[in-house]
Symmetry: C2
Amino acid sequence: MQNFTFHNPTRIVFGEQQIAGLAALIPDGARVLLTYGGGSIKKNGVYDQVVAALDGKVWFEFAGIEPNPSFDTLLQARDLLKSEQLDFILAVGGGSVIDGSKFIAAAACYQGDAWDLLCGKAKVNAAIPLGCVLTLPATGSESNGNSVVTRYSTQEKMAFSSPLVYPQFAILDPTTTFSLPPRQVANGVVDAFVHVMEQYLTYPANAPVQDRFAEGLLQTLIEQGPQALERPEDYAVRANVMWAATMALNGLIGVGVPQDWATHMIGHEITALHGLDHAQTLAIVLPALMQQQRRQKRDKLLQYGKRVWQLVHQDEERLIDEAISHTRAFFEQMGVPTRLADYGIDASAIDTMVERLVQHKMVKLGEHGDITPEVSRVILQSAL
Amino acid sequence: MQNFTFHNPTRIVFGEQQIAGLAALIPDGARVLLTYGGGSIKKNGVYDQVVAALDGKVWFEFAGIEPNPSFDTLLQARDLLKSEQLDFILAVGGGSVIDGSKFIAAAACYQGDAWDLLCGKAKVNAAIPLGCVLTLPATGSESNGNSVVTRYSTQEKMAFSSPLVYPQFAILDPTTTFSLPPRQVANGVVDAFVHVMEQYLTYPANAPVQDRFAEGLLQTLIEQGPQALERPEDYAVRANVMWAATMALNGLIGVGVPQDWATHMIGHEITALHGLDHAQTLAIVLPALMQQQRRQKRDKLLQYGKRVWQLVHQDEERLIDEAISHTRAFFEQMGVPTRLADYGIDASAIDTMVERLVQHKMVKLGEHGDITPEVSRVILQSAL
């Protein structure tokens, strides 16, 4: 096990009817900016629950944070926050709303061009405190310090991380997910699954607790994900998917072990250039990457096949083949196609994706830093 | 899954040579009380590392906190803390030193008789902040809000819990455990194992993440525990035991699920009356309790036998028998005997133990509250 520091200060408040207790979680006297997305929370009743729970608080709202939240939109929210002298952000929605709100929180405390925080030119030194009500289990953003923001004018999707933007609290009420469209449910399960894989499928580091926690999350997502599509109002299933997605990226399973994240970095370029959902890009890239990196990931691929999929072949190459094909089949079963062609993207698009990886300095990806632009090209070609 | 709140604010700093960074974790200007136990940290070099890391800080020390820390001893430490106007506690040691330091922290802020905090007469409303350097993986005290204290004058072992006594940080350097006596290594592994079982072996609550995390910890302890005895200076093994013990009782695996804790409550009376090590009492009580409660715990006993011990019998009763006997054998393999007689305790001692359970209101134990004093008596009799 490698040395590590782990500190996750987010208070998780999990279960039915927990939104009603929202006011007690927000600091007394706070001036609140309520942020949300395209308005689904107005249709499913979550907005009304939140507004009722905010009774007596001073609050303003900013609606319209997009999936893959837009840099320019978020700057408008920042301007509102500053002009109204607001000092707490309440993000209500999925990973995009929470990621976007983290960026608002950091940008509000930064004097220069806010893009600096995303392109790596400046670090976050301060942020407005925030809390969240999660309505889409997927990204883990509700209890981590990560944020991904897209600048549409330049087709760039960039990330930042800071301990200063961990939500102070996260309310996770599984009933808020009952009305999600199947595509978002599926995307969330695939996203959480790939988060686990990025922290697990590397090389053995003699970290059995982390390995078994990761395998437990993968098995849970494989078992519960399809049920969430079949029985949208099954509380227990929704609760298990929600908790698994939070645990998948709250930092815990990644402590002291090597990590990959190449699938995400390659996927971000696909989204930025072609507008695919984040999880769609992961479902495309991961199986291709597993195949391409099967030599480097051999030991963990065997462990994954045996423990997660209960594969028992004597022939280890065949076992790895099946581990990869089961992974692909799981994404397809969730309704997320796993080929670029399924989204109308052909070989002519790959050059630009690889150029963008170079431009964003994503030239030594993977746990060994051996996923060069040329390897990324091979991965993308095999994902056609 | 049941509704829950989870908030663990402890910063974990894990790995070799992390003690050197101690000063940065303690608030600037703090006046520190360094607490420790019987002096093993002076023999193994940990004391010197801590003293070197405290260079430039104002600090006092209080030595001599016992295993099963004594109420009267801790009050002396509280008096030193108050007379020297100290405002931060640094606990260096195992669960007893950390538990004791939590009590010092709370007692220093309480005006009445400090026993009130243990007997349930008063709640903790304030506490001196504390941090810790863990040298004995076992209790999980390094990242939870629990404390157990013994008043020897009345042979009473009592517990309190408060979010105010979570350590702010916990330094976990596996090399500090290399020199532990085998008995303490074994006790630590058994203690951590039973912590997991108390949160796992109840009834199914449709919480597959929690179940699989618990099973992963049990498997890790079964696999790594004996290796820690065989190869005391194997860093990887020590690291895995240390991390598993922390995860076993930091609150995570117990969220949203029923819990038992009867084994601990019955065990506490054995320690209070007969001076056995805490883990010895758990190794005695748990197998007897599993047998006595096999009907109520049937589904989880089957799951435990299959997933943790890979048992495959068609006959479910036999599978449960073997799950229990494997558990007992594991404790014995670790060198911890599992019968009262092994410690020179006979049937004549049971009446007093049961009386004490009644006196301490431990009359409806277990996840169903059905472990009455008479059931506890049967458990103790079958553990002779």
